[in-house]
């Protein structure tokens, strides 16, 4: 049996506790870290590097599934997420998420990492530097999810505003409410407290909801629907890009989920196994579903299916068996197909399927913990919490409440943000610019220029 509750302060949920214990600047560091402590920090750092590399995956998926005339703009937005997003998280995001003096709503200190002894490694835990590095690359992931859904029609300057506010405020509040020990972490129904190990809800659903609001406020791309309102396919210009991007994200996820163990221990590899299995099951079930629905095994959709399996297992990866990881990933792979077709039908134009992959399947990942949890993932604090393991409906209820709270918070704040941008600087490019492509008019160059100069 696993004794994971013993080290609850080491789990993501315990980051807040670790920071609270971290000596402030100038305080002599009494504790001499052991080799294990250094190993923990090095592993989480390397996992963070893998998560950062997911930016390349997102950029390629989005570029591949959109048109050649907008490829520069896609990459520009992804660079923006990795630059202004991380700087915004450094300035205020980390403080709002994990600030020491935080109440239930928001943290209020350690802005610009001020007041933290960055190098101090506490016993069995992570230094503030390791924690910030790992959290910052997660924030960059959360914000870049929306980029794909808003592709091919968003003003670059307006996207920058969204990226900053998302990383500086909206996402950090979600983190504070959960891993930071705020609102959602305080909810208890019977023995059940929330669990979202690596962030199916906290990271992916948050990004997915922002993606939905972005697509909603923008409206569909020109030509997506004909005069009679029938949907038209706008094929992506580079399927090899898209699938290479899927594989890069898949690799990155081996940092995202196993890294969220926040320790170099025996569970890192079990989480990696669950992650691998869910991705494979997601891709397979999407293949079968789209083959039946559309008559062809459409590889652009299958790429979404692998990602759906990964998003689904992100939350439950520490609490479920390998077999149930297959089930969770497989269900994610089915959901994503119907979700993509649904949003097309209701005229929410999401060129890359981000709303479905991250938003809808992210919610499924959070809920699946209430059904399938059997191990204590250091959040649950107990074994067999899931409905199918005799845990009753309590865990499912807490998970559903968590989904609802994140939905309301991110939905309301991003709606207000996009409405504000739309009313002031404008959210969408001109019709002429959209037809010509954003590359030349927004950024002054094309992605695939002919070689006219020696």
């Amino acid at each position: 049996m696993r004794k994971r509750a013993l080290r609850i302060t080491s789990g993501l949920g315990g980051v807040f506790a670790i920071l609270a214990l971290t000596p402030s600047v100038g305080f002599a560091q009494d504790y001499v870290p052991t080799a294990q402590d250094y190993l923990n920090n090095i592993w989480v750092f390397i996992a963070g590097v893998l998560v950062f590399f997911m930016q390349a995956g997102f950029a390629l998926v989005e570029a591949g599934l959109t048109r050649a005339k907008n490829v520069v703009n896609i990459f520009a937005k992804n660079i923006a997420d990795a630059t202004v997003g991380i700087l915004a998280f450094f300035a205020t995001g980390f403080a709002f998420a994990f600030g020491e003096s935080g109440g239930w709503f928001i943290g209020t200190d350690n802005f610009f990492l001020d007041g933290l002894d960055l190098a101090a490694i506490p016993e069995g835990g992570l230094s503030p530097a390791t924690t910030f590095f790992f959290q910052a690359v997660f924030a960059a992931t959360a914000v870049t999810i929306a980029s794909g859904a808003m592709a091919e029609r968003t003003k670059f300057s307006s996207y920058l505003i969204f990226s900053v506010v998302m990383c500086a405020f909206i996402y950090p509040v979600v983190v504070h409410w959960t891993w930071g020990g705020g609102l959602i972490a305080d909810i208890q129904i019977g023995d059940a407290i929330f669990s979202d190990f690596a962030g199916s809800g906290i990271v992916h659903m948050t990004g997915g909801i922002a993606a939905f609001m972005g697509a909603l406020f923008l409206g569909p791309r020109l030509g997506k629907y004909d005069k009679d309102g029938n949907m038209r396919a706008i094929p992506g210009h580079n399927i090899p890009f898209a699938i290479l991007g899927v594989f890069i994200l898949w690799v990155g996820w081996f940092g995202f989920n196993p890294g969220s163990e926040l320790l170099a221990d025996e569970f890192v590899s079990t989480i990696a196994v669950n992650t691998m299995l869910a991705a494979a099951a997601g891709a397979l079930l999407t293949t079968i579903t789209i083959w039946i629905k559309a008559g062809k095994p459409d590889v652009a959709m299958i790429g979404n299916g692998a990602l759906a399996g990964l998003v689904a297992i992100t939350g439950p990866c520490g609490a479920v068996t390998p077999l149930m990881s297959v089930v969770i990933g497989a269900i994610g792979g089915v959901i994503v197909v119907f979700s993509v077709l649904f949003f097309d039908k209701v005229r929410i134009d999401d060129p890359v399927g981000a709303i479905s992959v991250h938003g809808v399947v992210g919610a499924w990942g959070v809920l699946s913990i209430g059904l399938f949890a059997t191990y204590d993932d250091a959040f649950l604090g107990r074994e067999d919490a899931g409905l199918f393991y005799g845990g009753g409906f309590e865990q499912l209820a807490v998970q559903a409440l968590m989904v609802l709270i994140i939905l309301v918070w991110v939905g309301a704040t991003t709606a207000a943000l996009f409405a504000g941008i739309k009313a002031t600087v404008g959210l969408r490019v001109s019709e002429e610019e959209e037809m010509q492509g954003l590359d030349v008019l927004e950024h002054g160059l094309t992605g695939y220029a002919p070689d006219t100069v020696t």
């Binding site: 949907m231 992506g236 789209i290 629905k293 008559g295 959709m301 993509v340």
Partner: protein, 112 residues
């Protein structure tokens, strides 16, 4: 001098090139083109939505030849490019008023 323009199926390009070289053709210019004829287009699916490809990818060859070799070149292309199925393409021949080899300044059939 004549310009022979042949629009053929892309996967027949190598066969046609080899056959033309075998009868002494010294140069071919190739373009990737799209179009439709009797073959029409075909249907593809993307993310659950079907869409029609009206313009099918083809390869267009341009060959400038002396008047007396036109028929041999056309016949060679026809036999090398034919599959017997719809969409094999077309060949047409037009007059060429002037031909210059840029490197040497040679003109006319000397430049072929």
């Amino acid at each position: 001098m004549k310009l022979v323009t042949a629009v053929i199926k892309p996967f027949k390009l190598d066969d046609v090139k080899d056959a033309l070289k075998a009868i002494g053709v010294a140069g071919i210019t190739v373009e990737e083109v799209r179009g439709f004829g009797r073959q029409g287009g075909h249907t593809e699916t993307y993310r659950g939505a079907e869409y029609k490809i009206d313009f099918v990818p083809k390869v267009s060859l341009g060959i400038v030849v002396a008047d007396e070799t036109v028929d041999a070149v056309v016949d060679t292309i026809v036999s090398a490019a034919a599959t017997g199925k719809i969409g094999d393409g077309k060949i047409w021949v037009t007059d060429v008023d002037r031909l210059v080899r840029i490197r040497t300044g040679e003109e006319g059939t000397e430049a072929i």
